[in-house]
Structure formats: C-alpha cells, structure tokens
Symmetry: C2
Subunit: 372 residues, 2 copies
C-alpha cells in the first residue's frame, strides 16, 4: 500500500493541469497547505495504468485536498461498479482521464463541507455527480458546486447512486431518437442488464410494448418470468430467434419501430429482423465482442437506420441541460417503486470481492454497489 | 416467338388490375377494340418468369393497346440497361410487377398520339417516364399523361434516357441526408459506376471534395486518371485501403461527413474508416454480395449513422414532387456538358448482345443504351 501511494503522489506532483480534481488536486496540499479549507483524508480505488481492473487497481489512502471557494466536499455514501467503469480502467474508451486516476463514475453522497462562494447547497444535502465523471470510488470527493446535483432524500441510496448512467441511458434511447406512441413496440437484446430492465419498465409506463432477447442460459424460463413481471410483453432466448423470419414471434404485437443492441453478432441481427420498415436500431454496447452485420437488402428495401448511443456524447450535446430534469423524473419513479432492479450492497472495504463479482469471476451476481 | 406471344396474351387476358399499363393493357384490345384510339403494334422485351435475364427475356411483337382519354402514346427513342433492370428481372426486388412484364425502367421518347383529355403535350414532344416505371423496353409505350415529363430537346438522347435513375440517385444522396458545405468532403466506393461518376461531378460543382474507391483491376491507374479528370480529388483501389487507419490517405482533405456504399464487405468498411465523427454512410447497392459489417466502437465512439437509399422509396415520399425539378437541373447540366459519362448506343434489334454486355459476359463495356 505505502509504496503504491508514494508512486501516486510522486506522479501527481509532476502535473500542472487539474481537470479531475479527485486524485490530482492533492498536489495543492504541498503548495497551499494551511491557506484554505481541506477535505478529510480519503480512501480511494486508484489505478496507475490501464489493464484488467483486478490487477491494476489498489485501494489506497489519499491525502486531504483543497476545497476552493466554489468547491463542495462530499462524503460518498454509495457508488456502483458499472461495466463502463471496468471498460474505463481497461482503457478501451477513447477519452481517458490522465493516470493515475480514481475509478468509478457515478454515485451518491452527502455534503460534508464547501467553499465560501457556494450558495446552493447545505451540509447534509444528498447529491449526485451530474454529469457523471471519473473518481466516484473514494470516501470524500471534492468538485465544483455546478457538478453536483441535489436530490430528494426519499430515494433509496442504491437507486440514487445508479440513476445517472443506466436508467438515463434507457430513458434517452427511448425518448430521443424515434417518436413512440402508446401501442407501438420496441425490441432489445441484453434485456437482463440494468439498461434492459429500465427499458422494459419505462416502455410499459408509456404504453409501449417490449420484445426482449436474452442469452441462452440455465434458468432461462425463470428469467423470462422475472422480466415479464417487470412488464416485458415477450421474452425470447437468442437461439430461439435463429430463424430467417421472426414474424411468428411477434404474437399480437406490431413490428417494432425501434431496437436497442448491446450485444452485437447474431443477437444484433435478431433485433434487426424484428424491426419494421423504416425502423431504427441503436447500438450502445457490444457484450459478445462481435460486430454488427447488416445485409444490403435490409438497408435498401427495409430502409433501416443504424446509429450508436453513447451517454458521454449526449452529455456533451445540448441535451445535457435536460438531463437533470430527466434524472429527477427517474428518481421519482424509483421513490415510488415504479422503476427498480436488483442490486447488492457491499462494504467498500470488500472492494476486491465486489470487483470480482462485477467481473463475473464468481458466477452471476446482481449489480455491485459499494457502500462507503 | 409465336408461342411465347400466345402465352403472354393468354396470361394477360386473365388479369383485372392494370397498374403497369405497358403489357397488361393489351387485354383491353379484346374488350374495347374499335371503340377508341389504339397504339401502333409494339415490339418489347418480355419476361414471363424471374431468372437470369439472358434466359428469361424474349423480344416479341405486342398487339396495339387502347389509348384512353388521359393516355399518351410515346414512341420510345432510347432506354438504358441498368443494373436495377437486371435485378428486377432476376426477381430480387421485393416489389415486382406481375408477370409477364416488359423490362426496362427509364428512357426517352417522342409523343406519338394521345387521348382526348390530354392538354399538356403535343405530337413530337420529347418526354421521359417520371417517376420511372416498368415497361420501357418496347417501341411504343402508353401511360397516363401525368406519368410523362416533357423535357428540353437540346439534351442528347442517351443522357435524357438515363437521367431519372442514376444521376437522380447521386443528386438525392448528396442533397437529402447531410448538409454539405463547400470545402467538405464525401467518400464513396464503386466510383466508376454511373452514380459514382455523377457523385464526383455534382460534388465538384458544389465545391465538395470526393475521395473515391475503385476495385482492383488491370488499368487501375488509367481509371484513376479518368476519374480525376471528372473532378475526383483522391482515387484509391480497395486493396490500398486495407489498413487500420486511413488518415494518411486523406491528403489535405477534411474527414468526410458523408459516404456512399454500393459494394458492401471490406469496401464498405473502408468508406466507414474514412468518415468523420458523427458521419453518415448511405448504402445504395451491394455489388460484392457481402454484407456491411460495423464494429460496436464505430457506432458508439464514432457516433456513425448508417442508412439505406432506394430511389423507389424516395419516389413514394414527399420528395417525389421535387424530383422533376431536380431532373430538369440534371438535364441542364447534361446539355451544358457539365455532367457526363460514357455510354454505348446499341440498336434495339441487337438487344441480346447489349444484354450480354450489360451482364458483364463480354468483358467491360460502357453503359448499354437501347436505341429504338
């Protein structure tokens, strides 16, 4: 531990820019110590190089950081381990925080302290980082006031900590690309993911039917029942759909106008087969690591549109201003138990076990939520 | 010949609907003969079943057809053999005229006669079928007045006969999907096709640069020179672009915002590699018979949009009303020699040879234009 920490600090002292104020602003300590407010010492999950998260991350003690006049110091309460957090540590994303970095991208915490110019928040307020950004896996996080969004205290912590990535992805994909009317249908694969479960519930609330594809697995019938209880109209395994024409699987539903793909390969092809003339498929993940393959005739005669969805792009667009309104809507659904999914709270001290579960090394587990 | 004709007529007499009034309206003869105007007897390329065009088509004599009060009888002057004509005969298109049918989809002709309610056309006027529709490969075509578009007599016949399919495709793809400004770039494969050559010239007229992909072939350097003379900025063979990153091939050009694919497979992947962040690729053909394959990261991180383009869809949309204006614009460019491509005029009597050339059975030949 001690040597890792020395390495981190040595590296940090060599930096001049300070975009991510989580780890790196600790360099301020040596320069301005005692001249202003400081956060408590923090404990965080740090990685100094990209690679397999179970090999490159370490939980280490981090020194206090300066709380500047517009900054808010938040005591983190809960933060999930998302697949995108793992991908960020692996270094597969094109935009990467400079290393070393603290892992984690979203979460929820309580206002612990703030700078002299902060007017909108009080000690004890519940806040989430919005837009989500690197550095959530530590006990104290210091960021500018504008980067924190105050939320309702009635929302269960584990839901508040997970609202800004997966549920918001589901909502934006449903609302931002194709106009759906009650009675319309959507189709998706990877339907047991948190995004998938949110899509089912949010579609149902809009009167939109959902056709859901899950991967073949032991207990598939139980999974189908569980998704139907959430509001899924139809649930099929990938192998059930390896047929030329899927019309027989529509049941009484109309052909879907919109499809969501987070798998790729044959599973993406099944989504495309369900789409109606002029339909759109959004790709937001590629769990099978296989590309999307589309026939010329599907483009020309079926007039399909294929696009990508990346939350980070939306956050950099003019939709970003609406996101907090959408987050409040999602939180209200969570508070009323109209939007739910299974999670497992794990003490922060047990991070390595939670990480192994998130990496799938210990069989199938619900979403892991670090509790600080 | 005689037996084929008998078969056709027998079949035609069994029909009641009459969407394509080329072959099928000949049934009227037996019902209303001598009650109204008739066209001269016609000679046409007829197919009674789908299949390889050199096996299923026959040039046969067709009886006179009735010219109803809103009909115009046109003596055809020229009509091309397009790849889409071949595909229609093969039966690969989802929308097919009922069989037997007369081949050909576009052309140019001269008004020969018309019904009593026709007000907008005179004998001798030069007209093209607009929208294009089945039945152009015959010496006399009878259609309603509204389906004929009168054109300027100064346009060379072979260009007038080919304006409504390939040049219009190029123009609509350039103008209808992405806003291009002077200085922007586009990328395309299949660049030696008529659509490809029109894209180069129309882009150049707009100050838009073109990056062009051609298939590997003997004489590739000559082809590159020829396309550059038309206005191409860069021309590469498919094998030149089988690299991970194509940025080195951009030269001084910006990354293209728009790409056109009529090949599929690796050639489509090369188009995608050139596209800029947020770029769009339109697929309008699949000459390699290979599908389009796209990585998940290209969708998500590069935010690509993939769509199809089918002229027939545009003709059924609200863009149809603008098409005649666009056709007149294209004809004016052709008249001024600002839009050109190589063609070979072939007497209609030599249809089988022209067809073999169009099918690629006799080596590489320019676009075949039947001259009646």
């Amino acid at each position: 531990m001690a040597s890792a920490r020395t390495l981190v600090l040595k590296h940090l002292h060599g930096r001049t820019s300070c975009y991510f104020n989580s780890v790196r602003s600790s360099r301020m300590v040596s320069i301005r110590a005692y001249s202003s407010k400081l956060s408590p010492p923090s404990k965080g999950v740090v990685y100094e190089q990209h690679g397999s998260p179970d090999e490159v991350t370490r939980v280490i003690d981090l020194p206090p950081v300066e709380i500047k006049e517009n900054d808010v110091c938040v005591k983190m309460l809960a933060s999930p381990i998302n697949p995108s957090d793992i991908n960020r540590i692996q270094g597969v994303y094109p935009v990467r925080p400079p290393l070393p970095a603290v892992g984690g991208y979203e979460g929820v915490g309580q206002v612990h302290d703030f700078g002299s110019a902060v007017k909108g928040l009080s000690i004890g307020d519940l806040v989430i980082p919005s837009p989500p950004s690197s550095g959530a896996w530590q006990t104290f996080v210091v960021k500018e006031e504008s980067l924190w969004h105050k939320i309702d205290k009635d929302v269960p912590l584990e839901f508040a900590s997970t609202v800004t990535v997966n549920p918001l992805t589901a909502l934006l994909m449903l609302d931002d690309f194709v106009t759906l009317n009650p009675g319309d249908a959507i189709v998706q694969n990877g339907s047991t993911s948190i995004v998938g479960q949110c899509v089912i519930q949010l579609a149902k609330l809009r009167g939109v039917h959902s056709i859901n594809i899950i991967r073949d697995r032991a207990g598939a019938e139980d999974v189908k029942e569980r998704l139907k209880k959430l509001g899924a109209d139809e649930v099929y395994t990938e192998s059930q759909l390896e047929v030329k024409n899927v019309n027989g699987f529509l049941g009484a539903l109309p052909e879907p106008a919109l499809g969501f793909n987070c798998v790729g390969g044959n599973s993406a092809s099944s989504v495309l087969k369900f789409l109606r003339q002029g339909g759109t498929m959004l790709t937001y993940g590629g769990m099978s690591k296989k590309p999307v393959t589309v026939s010329t005739s599907a483009f020309i005669f079926k007039d399909l549109t294929l696009r990508g969805f990346w939350l980070q792009n939306m956050m950099n667009s003019d939709r970003a201003v609406d996101c907090r309104v959408m987050i409040d809507y999602l939180l209200s659904l969570m508070r009323d138990r109209k939007l739910k999914y299974e999670m497992e709270l794990v003490p922060f001290d047990e991070f390595p076990v939670a990480l192994d579960k998130a990496l799938g090394k210990l069989g199938s587990h619900p979403k892991q939520i670090l509790k600080f």
